[in-house]
Symmetry: C2
Subunit: 306 residues, 2 copies
C-alpha cells in the first residue's frame, strides 16, 4: 500500500511516497521524494497535488509549519493561521489536498509529526510521553503526552518560552514577539546575527557553542520540569554541531541539580536527550504516520460532507 | 455511598469524607473533615487511618506532597520519594491505607488531584487539557492533558521552571536546588524573606505585587507556550491577594504579545486565568475523585497480591 507525506516548511515542501503494510508495527519505506520550493499557495499547492496524483496513495499526512488550526470543530481546521509568509495566512492546506485527492488527510504541526514518527518508529518508541525539539531556522517543540499528540487551546509553542539571558550576551534577540525567548536567542538566525556568520562557519568557536548550550539546556530543563517526558529527541540544523549534545546534557544536569530524581537525568542522560533514530526522516515519516492514523482512527470524520 | 479523600501536605493532612452517588457527573458533598498535623509517619498515619476506619468508605484518594512515585510498575509506587521532611522519604503512604482499609486507593500529586477536581466539577469542567497552579509555601503545577493527568518520567514539577530575574530584585532566591526558579523567587516564603514580612502584611505595598506578578506572569506565559492549556486555574495562599489576578493576566498578555492567537489570551483572558470554582476544596475533592477513578478504572490492578 502506498501513502503520502508532506513536511510543509516555510522554505521548502518535502513531498514523499511511502510503502507500508498498513500496520504501525512496521516502519514505512520511503520510495520517492521531491522538494518543492515554498512560493505562493497558488504556485506551490498545484505542483504538490500533481506529484501525489501520479501515485495511487491511500492516505496523506501533513506536518505543517505553524501556527495551524488543529481544532476539528473549527471552520478553519486544517489551515495555517496567522503567518507573516505572504499568501499562506488562513490557507486551507489540508482541505486543498482532501478536495484534490479525495483521501483521508492527517494534519498537525511539523514538530508534532516528528515526535509521532519517533514515538512510533524511532528513539521514543513505546513512550507514553516524549518531546521532539528542533533547533534550526526556528525552535519548535512537538509534544506527545498520555499517548497522543498535544493540541489543547491551540498547540504548544515551546520554542518561544522565555529564558534568562547569558551574562555575556549583548545580542538583542531575533524574535519580533519576545525579547528573550528561546527561538529569538538560540535558533540558527540568532546565532548568525549575534556572531556575524552562519553557524556552520563558527564550528570551532567554543564561546558560540557554550552560549548556545546555555540557552538550549535552560529550555530543555524547563521542558523536563513541565512535561516530565520519557524521552527528549533533539535535532534540527543547529544540532548538526554534534558537540552540542554532550554540552547540553551536562548543563541540563547542572541546572536541575538533582531535583528531578531519576537515572535518566543522571547516569543515563546520554539515552535521555538523543538525536532522532529516524535520521533526517522523523518529519516526513511522522507526516505519513499522521495520514495512517487519520485513515484508521478518525476515518475522515472531521470532513464529513466534503 | 461514602468515600474518603486525603490532601497530604507537609504541614497538615486534610482528611475528609464525601457522599456521592458514585457518578462523576455529580459533585461529591463533603460531610466531614479533620486536619491532622504532619508529624512523623509513625504518629500521623495511624491517626488518619483511625479516622477513616470510623466511616464505611468504599474508596480513598490521596493527593500528596511530592515528589512521589506514580509508576505502577515500580516497587515504590505510592511512596513519597526523596523529601527533606524527616521520616517521610520512601514512606509508602498509599500502601499504608490500602493495607489498613482494604479498599481501592487512588494516588497522585496534590496539584494533579486539584486539577482533576477542577476538570471534573470545577472551573475547567469539560476541558481536555488544563493546569492548576498553586502559589503558597511552594509553587506547584498540576497538569491534565489529553484527558488524563500527566505523569511521564516522574511527574511535572512546573513550579521549578527557571525565570528571568526582575531587574530590581536583589533577593538571592529561596530554592536550595535552583538559583532562579519560580518557587524560589515567587512562593510565599520567598516573598517573606525578600521583603522581611509575611505576604499578608504586605498587602498595600504595590512594589511587592508588581514583582510577584512579574514572576507569576512569566511562569504562566511559559506554561501557556508549553501546554497550550484550555484553562488555567490559579490559587494558593499568595493568590488570596486577589489584586494579583488582574495584574498577572495583563502581564501574561503583554509577554505573549499576540503570538498565541486566541481570544482566551486576549478579550477573554478573565475567563482563562481564573480562581478555582471549587473554592478552597479543589485539592480534597480532587483527591476523592482520584479514589473514584481508582475504583472504577484501575480496579486496584497495581496492587494485585497485597
Amino acid at each position: 500500500m502506498l501513502i503520502g507525506g508532506i513536511e510543509a516548511g516555510g522554505t521548502k515542501m518535502v513531498c514523499a511516497i511511502g510503502e507500508t503494510d498498513g500496520s504501525l508495527e512496521t516502519e514505512v519505506k520511503i520510495v520517492d521524494r521531491i522538494f518543492v520550493p515554498t512560493k505562493s499557495p497558488e504556485e506551490t499547492l498545484p505542483e504538490m497535488i500533481q506529484y501525489f496524483q501520479k501515485w495511487d496513495i491511500q492516505t496523506l499526512g501533513i506536518g505543517c509549519f505553524g501556527p495551524v488550526d488543529l481544532n476539528r470543530n473549527s471552520a478553519t481546521y486544517g489551515c495555517i493561521t496567522k503567518t507573516p509568509k505572504p499568501g499562506w495566512a488562513y490557507c486551507d492546506i489540508a482541505g486543498a489536498f482532501t478536495n484534490a485527492l479525495q483521501i483521508p488527510v492527517g494534519f498537525d504541526t511539523d514538530v508534532n509529526g516528528a515526535i509521532l514518527g519517533e514515538v512510533v518508529w524511532g528513539a521514543a518508541k513505546g513512550c507514553e510521553s516524549a518531546i521532539y525539539i528542533t533547533v534550526g531556522t526556528g525552535i519548535g517543540v512537538g509534544v506527545y503526552c498520555n499517548g497522543k499528540l498535544v493540541h489543547g487551546l491551540v498547540h504548544p509553542e515551546g520554542g518561544h518560552i522565555l529564558l534568562e539571558r547569558h551574562p555575556g550576551d549583548h545580542f538583542k534577540g531575533n524574535c519580533p514577539f519576545h525579547a528573550n525567548c528561546a527561538e529569538g536567542l538560540a535558533a540558527g538566525p540568532a546565532i548568525e546575527k549575534r556572531w556575524g556568520k552562519p553557524a556552520i562557519e563558527l564550528a570551532d568557536k567554543q564561546e558560540v557553542w557554550e552560549m548556545e548550550a546555555f540557552y538550549l539546556a535552560q529550555a530543555i530543563a524547563n521542558y523536563v520540569l513541565c512535561y516530565s517526558p520519557q524521552k527528549i529527541v533533539l535535532w534540527g540544523g543547529v544540532m548538526h554541531q554534534k558537540q552540542l549534545f554532550a554540552m547540553v546534557r551536562e548543563k541540563v544536569k547542572k541546572i536541575l541539580n538533582g531535583y528531578v530524581d531519576h537515572e535518566m537525568l543522571d547516569a543515563q542522560i546520554d539515552q535521555y536527550i538523543v538525536a532522532p533514530a529516524l535520521g533526517e526522516n522523523p518529519g516526513i515519516l511522522g507526516a505519513m504516520c499522521l495520514g495512517m492514523l487519520e485513515s484508521t482512527v478518525y476515518k475522515g470524520l472531521h470532513r464529513v460532507g466534503i
